[in-house]
Amino acid sequence: MENEGNKKSIKERTKAKHKEKQSKEMNESSNKQVAALFSHLEIAKGANASLASRDIHPAVLVIGLQFADFKICGANARCIATLTAFKKVIQDYKTPEGTTLSRHLPTHLSPQISYLVNSRPMSVGMGNAIRHLKLEISTMDIDLADDDAKLLLCEKIDNFIRDRITVADRVIVSYGLQKIQDGDVILTYARSSVVQALLLEAHAKGIQFKVIIVDSRPRLEGKGLLRCLVDAGISCTYAFLHAVGFVLKDVSKVFLGAHAFMSNGALYSRVGTAMVAMMAKEKNIPVIVCCETYKFAEKVQLDSFVMNEQGNPDEMVNISTTSTPKAGLLDGWLHKPDLKLLNLLHDLTPSKYITTVITEVGMIPCTSVPVILREYKQV
């Protein structure tokens, strides 16, 4: 019996060692190819369920895999998915003997959160939401029965999603409608859920305007927005980022979405946003950012290097614009010693390129972001 047990453990150990060696090799080869300036940023590893330990809730496992594969993409979508998954975790949670819900639940959530962070670094909004959740848990009344407490927590999560995301989006859209008039030519970059809602609503209200969607490799997220707008009947033009100088001649306003807003008024958003904002500012075209307040961050950031995300560099090898991949010239770049690929996901737009920010609390200049944060803290 013991021998068998030993044999089994030896097998398991060798398997684990082999896996470790494999992942180490992969890391080494990818380290060789990392641009030196970005070596402090991890490269996205892709979906890998084997990294999960036993106590990850299946709902969290699912969204972790979806995040890593970029099936759920976009700050709002990821935040809502995370909170919904955590709701399920809380519903399935049972307080163990000898401890209270308000003390143990955060420690129960921690491994789930670290698993999500491992799949893909958390967005600023997600971080704020989870911080809010932890605060709610810790201020929970100890006398409350477990079931009631769990119900209350789920309600609080729903309220957060409703107030800070869903209703906030609607308020932003209503403010933004004031900024779209007949005859406008609106330029937008990549895909922002708020800007999409704004444009659809403006069209539904009967405002006559045209949209130019600027898209970029390798994500090509603008195509999804294009489909959505075309289905609604809006007249659209589509171009890649290289054409932005050519296209800006006819544009009257630029609407952009945000991943996060830093306390120094800088916009942290999809890579390429800074380029679009800068080119628009050069031609004196107003740049309007639509951003919910839960995305405001306490951090300050000056450039796109210190905090960023690197995607999988192999995405740049595929040069086809449809779902069938077609390898370009860079195929086999791993074997070429001096060649590196850099696939950045975000960049930082300095505040001087942004004209105004539309939030659910109104239209503010981007330098007022720390003021709003302070207001929320006082509440």
């Binding site: 641009a35 030196a36 300036l37 970029s216 490799r217 390798p218 195509k223 294009l226 489909r227 075309v230 659209c236 033009t237 589509y238 171009a239 890649f240 980022l241 290289h242 054409a243 932005v244 100088g245 050519f246 296209v247 999809r270 890579v271 390429g272 800074a274 380029m275 800068m278 080119m279 050069e282 450039d303 796109s304 290097f305 960023n308 740049m316 040069i319 086809s320 614009t321 449809t322 069938t324 370009g328 010239l329 860079l330 070429k336 010693p337 001096d338 060649l339 590196k340 690929l341 850099l342 696939n343 950045l344 960049d347 930082l348």
Partner: protein, 399 residues
């Protein structure tokens, strides 16, 4: 000796090849044009220079119409016309002072460009302003002070009265000009052939060690420039792939094969990375008279981002790309090409309802460019008008 009929066949062949885009790229087009014009000068029957000038203009007009976006064709034609007129003028002034025609020996291109810039202004044909002439194999052209010192004339005014009158006529019978003109043309062809080497030789003066240099798209000039510098300096390159043509990929492959540390970024990351870039070195398709560039789409983004970060923008180009045309309308030199690489027919129902734009070129305004590195040395954009005055005649601007 090929007759005029063969010459016509050669002209037609080049026109067709240009029209079908079988000759692509400013350099190859320029070389072919120069070779063809040399044939025209040597084969065609002419005994008066104005006949030759009209002939060259005629052939040149056909070539320009075959590929109108390729400004280099027109530039070479204008260079040849100016060359013919210069030879004629110097010949006229020589016969004025009663000397037999001398053989010209124009200084080689691989002479130090510094001398050219310091002492003599016309960089190509430096002439000493001797009042005596002498012939011989290694001789320098003699010319009277007035008519052939082109730059001096432009400084002092419209030129001496006698020189101008003579050059307006172009009707003197000058059979003996043919070898001179052909040898000048040969110099032009040599200049074109040595183009890349001349530019690449200046590389060491512009790149220091541990630099991060950004480049856009694919340019053979820049490639040779960087590879020459890489032999002695250690630096890294960031290449912006220019989707949807992905010229940046080819450039990166070629540079990394030469052992240069290369990183490929997508167009969207240009602004993000620009803050760490020390300089931007790029090529161009054409340079316009005001110093503006017509280059591959995406260059305007890079140049504007560089201006915002106060990063110098260096353009490596040969003089044959310098055109005397002005961009009165930014879009007059641009082409919208097939949108298939942007959105292909696989997305069937979508492309029916959407306008898809795929501009091929970009116009970069001269304020965004810091330096032009040409085969004659480094020049700021403000100097280009002088180069145009020296290499082209104003009456040739419209061919």
């Amino acid at each position: 000796m090929t007759g005029p009929r063969d010459l016509n066949a050669q002209i037609e062949s080049l026109v067709n090849r240009l029209r079908r885009r079988q000759v692509v790229g400013s350099w190859s087009v320029s070389l072919e044009t120069a070779l063809l014009l040399r044939q025209v000068v040597s084969v065609a029957r002419w005994n008066q220079v104005n006949v030759l000038i009209n002939l060259v203009k005629d052939v040149g007009g056909k070539l320009v119409m075959a590929q109108p976006r390729e400004l280099a064709v027109g530039n070479i034609v204008r260079r040849v016309l100016r060359l013919i007129r210069d030879v004629y003028n110097s010949e006229v002034s020589n016969s004025n002072t009663n000397l037999t025609s001398t053989s010209e020996e124009v200084e080689d291109d691989d002479k130090d460009y510094e001398d050219d810039n310091v002492i003599k202004s016309p960089p190509q044909k430096s002439k000493t302003y001797d009042l005596q002439s002498y012939s011989g194999p290694g001789s320098i052209i003699s010319s009277s002070f007035f008519s052939s010192s082109a730059s001096m004339i432009n400084l002092l005014g419209d030129g001496s009265v006698s020189g101008k009158e003579a050059s307006l006529d172009y009707d003197r019978k000058c059979y003996n000009l043919k070898p001179t003109i052909i040898s000048e043309l040969q110099e032009l062809i040599n200049e074109l052939e040595n183009m890349y080497v001349n530019i690449a030789d200046q590389a060491m003066e512009h790149i220091h060690s541990n630099e991060i240099i950004m480049t856009v798209g694919k340019s053979r000039t820049v490639e040779m420039f960087l590879k020459t510098a890489a032999k002695k300096r250690k630096f890294s390159i960031v290449v912006a792939e220019t989707s949807p043509k992905y010229l940046g990929h080819e450039m990166a492959l070629s540079l990394s094969q030469a052992g240069i540390d290369t990183t490929v970024i997508s167009d969207s990351a240009i602004f993000a990375v620009m803050s760490r870039v020390n300089k931007v070195i790029m090529g161009t398709h054409a340079v316009l008279a005001n110093g503006g560039l017509i280059s591959v789409s995406g260059t305007q983004m890079v140049a504007t981002a560089a201006k915002h970060h106060s990063t110098p923008v260096v353009v490596c180009t040969g003089l044959y790309k310098l055109s005397p045309l002005y961009p009165y309308d930014e879009d007059s030199f641009n082409d919208l090409v097939a949108p298939d690489p942007v959105m292909s027919f696989d997305e069937g129902e979508l492309i029916d309802k959407v306008t898809i734009l795929n501009p091929y070129y970009d116009y970069v305004s001269p304020e965004l460019v810091s330096l032009f590195i040409t085969n004659t040395g480094g020049h700021p954009p403000s100097y280009l008008y002088r180069l145009i005055n020296e290499n082209y005649d104003p009456e040739d601007t419209v061919i």
